[in-house]
Amino acid sequence: MKHKGIFTIEAIICFFTIAAITLVIISQPQTPTQYFVQNDKASDLLIVWATRGDTIEEMEKDANMFLGKGEFRIEYRQKSIGEIFEHEIVREIEAEGGKIKLFLRN
């Protein structure tokens, strides 16, 4: 059979198969190290805030020191500080003044 193109159909199929296998291998899920650490951090902040009964401004100061600026959002008593993230981890705790919600960038 005479071919006019550069590649035969078999070669193209073979190429796409190899590309698909490589993509599957590369896109293996990552180890949950980051998630693990973030979970602990969120839990620590919420426990301390609930114990002390801090204001949202104090919470913001603590989170800036511990997590870094722009890495979180806090919701407490109808107030919200920080930006909304596309992918985020949410943790909450029931404190005396109401529910404290902490959103971390994921």
Binding site: T22, D40, I47
Partner: protein, 150 residues
């Protein structure tokens, strides 16, 4: 051009391509395996550091504060989670726990950092926890726990 008995030129080229592809794939899998192994070992160390730091800030062990330095509240008659007793904290010494060990602890606030102790070792990582330190001054601080290979 005369054709060989067993291999034609096409078959020879195809074999060479197949062999080089196999070589590339084997090399790729080897790199991937080594990277996964490193990730797993790092995860194991982070998990250990996280567990040890949780023990330090959430439990109390007066005889061995390296495994528990939380504050005991006399009024509430219970150990307070994420509240650390400064006296016990100062008594913590480097300790090995098999493959990994506790080699340092530091306290960090907005503008300062104080080492409680540190012993140099290899392949160290640290995890930070947010706590209240109960001592001469009650304060909120970041407590860093340094874990290294023993």
């Amino acid at each position: 051009m005369a054709r060989g008995f067993i291999l034609s030129s096409d078959a020879l080229i195809a074999s060479l391509i197949l062999l080089s592809t196999l070589l590339v794939v084997a090399n790729f899998i080897s790199i991937l395996t080594l990277s996964e192994k490193a990730k797993y070992e790092n995860f194991e160390k982070v998990a250990f550091a996280s567990s040890l730091s949780s023990a330090i800030i959430k439990t109390r062990n007066e005889t061995n504060p390296s495994t528990g330095a939380a504050y005991y509240n006399e009024e509430k008659r219970r150990v307070e989670s994420n509240v650390v007793d400064e006296e016990l904290l100062s008594k913590i010494v480097p300790q090995s726990f098999g493959r990994y060990g506790l080699f340092g602890i530091y306290e960090r606030s907005q503008d300062s950092r104080r080492e409680i102790f540190f012993q140099s070792a290899k392949e160290c990582i640290f995890v930070e926890r947010f706590v209240i330190i109960r001592g001469t001054i009650k304060r909120k601080a970041v407590l860093g726990v340094i874990v290294c290979e023993a």
